[in-house]
Symmetry: C2
Subunit: 165 residues, 2 copies
């Protein structure tokens, strides 16, 4: 399965934030944002692009969310094609999201920090009718974990612990 992720967190808006001297504070504040996430035996490098003050050693967190959505859809198509007996040779995705960096930086009121919207294109390659693949899509969209997580609210319990330097 291949998943094409086309996020848009680095568009004109971000560029103007970085270039505008009034917002020039960004450079210094973002120094050292490279993160190392440990997931069982896996390590994941997550960073910000250089335009955002990072070192671009990996995708940034919102790009990672798009990758999770695209691949979770791909896997759920595989599972439900199997469960429903739908022949499916290949699944491809193109997933892109709209984000305005002004939300993260608090530059304007009323701008949400996360994606305002996501466009997700599914390409199914196989011998079945389009109608059959639409039935498959319905089942997948009702059972896809990351689609549910992104499309619907998830309760997040937060605990803060402060330790002396």
């Amino acid at each position: 399965m291949s998943t094409q992720i086309s996020p848009r967190p680095l568009g004109d808006v971000i560029q103007s934030v970085v270039e505008d001297p009034a917002n020039g504070r960004l450079g210094g504040n973002l120094a050292g944002v490279a993160c190392d996430a440990r997931i069982r035996q896996h390590a994941l490098a997550i960073d910000e692009p250089m335009a955002l003050g990072g070192t671009d050693t990996g995708p940034n967190p919102v790009e990672i969310v798009l990758a999770a959505l695209g691949t979770c859809q791909a896997i759920t198509y595989r599972i439900w094609a199997g469960l429903m007996g739908v022949a499916l040779d290949e699944v491809r995705f193109e997933t892109e999201g709209d984000i305005d960096i002004a939300g993260l930086l608090g530059l304007r009121e009323g701008v949400r920090p996360g994606f305002a919207g996501i466009r997700h294109r599914v390409i199914l390659i196989g011998p079945e009718t389009e109608e059959r693949y639409r039935e498959l899509m319905e089942a997948v969209d009702a059972h896809c974990p990351v689609l549910d997580i992104v499309a619907n609210p998830v309760p997040i319990e937060r605990v803060l612990e402060v330790r002396a330097a």
Copy 2:
């Protein structure tokens, strides 16, 4: 920054699904779920653990969402500590989510496929007062992109394209 991800998608529920002959359909259907996500110049291996029929070449999509949440919080703490002039030596996270695989597989009614809940522990290490770090936390949680994406609904436009094999 270090982020400890402790997802729970592989608990007793999944194990029982895999082991229960009534649900033994899982093995075959999940063959070949390893995904290769392309994000600009970055490639991300996303897979399922062997207990779920994958080859475990990378984290799975819901683990990736937890990694995105933890690291986005870490980066947003860095940014807002800078904006607010709060001294901060280190940010650590422990993020875990509860997921019931029955939702993905449609085994029981009323089980959502995504996380029922996420617990997110933030550890701030630095010289400021706890009150000051609580002010920082409020600003961060109001501006963190992935927190917003996971906690609140995001509109997702889906398009299906069918191609002959």
